[in-house]
């Protein structure tokens, strides 16, 4: 295969975009891991760092948008190049959203830390956060490794996060019913859990995009879904 374009600066332009995606991926991973750690350890300094990291994430996304638009205008990419550029724009959007959600978790650290968090509860959030982290890390690594099959598999793994989210949701309801003093903390934790679940969805989008970039094929539209919180609302 011809690895290089006849025009060398085309390769540099594509390389810069690919580097930005990889940087944004690393940052997203560190933000998700930082925000959950801060939440579980009531670490306000770490939470603050995640909040400020979000500005870097946004700046990178804007840079990537600029570069991608300029590249399309200048080079009119085709086939795999075109898919890579358009796919990068989309993936950057999802990574930026992951950053936002991590930041939102980080911003709740202070409030949750002030109240008494039921010990068991932090365990189940922790387990959910671990699953999400594995997914975030996985999608970045598999895309870098250009492993389409692994990406297709990873996309279906999101189901496990949904299952976990359903159980966290039920658990939080139980704590709130047990003791109304838990309501403030539990509500914040509920948002955190929802954010983690949303991060999982963005990872799914990234996996789908990455799969398309690598293969030119779309993954089938339906995938297993297990978020049953809408059905588990207590009958009042």
């Amino acid at each position: 295969m011809g690895e290089h374009h006849t025009v060398a600066s085309f390769d540099e332009d594509l390389g810069a975009i690919s580097k930005l995606i990889s940087d944004m991926g690393d940052l997203a991973r560190s933000m998700v891991s930082g925000s959950t750690k801060a939440l579980l350890n009531s670490d306000n300094a770490l939470a603050q760092r995640v909040v400020s990291d979000d500005a870097i994430m946004d700046a990178r996304q804007r840079e990537l948008d600029d570069r991608a638009i300029t590249l399309i205008a200048k080079r009119q990419p085709m086939a795999n190049d075109l898919r890579a550029v358009v796919g990068s724009i989309r993936m950057a959007g999802d990574l930026e959203r992951i950053g936002d959600l991590a930041k939102n978790i980080a911003k709740r650290v202070g409030t949750v830390g002030l109240s008494v968090t039921p010990r068991d509860l932090s365990h189940s959030i922790d387990a959910m956060a671990q699953l999400v982290l594995i997914q975030v890390q996985g999608v970045i690594e598999e895309y870098a490794a250009r492993d389409a099959a692994a990406l297709a598999k990873l996309r279906n793994e999101d189901e496990r996060i949904d299952v976990k989210y359903t159980s966290v949701f039920r658990e939080l309801l139980t704590y709130m019913m047990e003791d109304p003093r838990n309501i403030t903390a539990c509500t914040h934790l509920l948002f955190c859990a929802k954010n983690l679940e949303r991060i999982g969805d963005h990872v799914t989008n990234i996996a789908e995009n990455a799969y398309y970039v690598l293969t030119g094929q779309q993954l089938p539209a339906n995938r297993p879904k297990q978020d049953e919180t809408a059905m588990s609302a207590p009958a009042a």
Partner: protein, 274 residues
Amino acid sequence: MNIMTEQSLENAVGEKMSAKSNEVIKMRGDKVGVFYGEKQALFDVNLDVRLNQVTALIGPSGCGKSTFLRCLNRMNDTIDSARVTGKITLDEEDIYDKNIDVVELRARVGMVFQKPNPFPKSIYENVAYGPRIHGLAKRKADMDQIVESSLKKAAIWNEVKDRLQEPGTGLSGGQQQRLCIARAIAVSPEVILMDEPCSALDPIATARVEELIDELRQNYTIVIVTHSMQQAARVSQRTAMFHLGYLVEEGATDKMFTNPDDQRTQDYITGRFG
């Protein structure tokens, strides 16, 4: 912006129309080979040209795309050393059969060249020439009608209707090319071959010709050779990729430019060749 929208609308309409006809094979190349003297320029090309579709032939210089195009109306006959092997059919009729009248064939399979080449005659005469030698018009009124409708179909009527007696060579490049297309249309061809019809034109004239190509395919079958990948992507429904005299890959244009099967196609259209 307007041109784009209209064009995509027409594309959508055209897609529906061609849904019926896109399985009809207008021309078929079967193991086509071309030799220039000892040197073989084209090897075993099997390619179908579908009715009312635009087929784009792409590939790097010297890949054989123009050679193949010129086989389709026996333009290679004009080169002494050229020899064509295999079989090419038009409506399932062998065009290299000895009973075929080449002049009549070229009326059915018209050609538009890279450089606009109007005759050094009036605009009117440029269009009237073909119908006259083929005896298509008995009276002056008939000829006027043919000239007007051809110029209209070539989307140049409004620009030249008040100066039909002026020389065709006095028009701008883009107008000259559309005049040449009108000239090709005048003899009511079934297939129009275009050999890089826009390579000598500015972007606006190119856009006009591209829009015209899209309109023309409602009534004609078009085969176009182009060096512009974007142009092939814009105007054609089928794309054939040639390399070193071989047909590498042929398929729906949408797929060829987003996800081609062959690595050589991928390398060529993304600019990784050589």
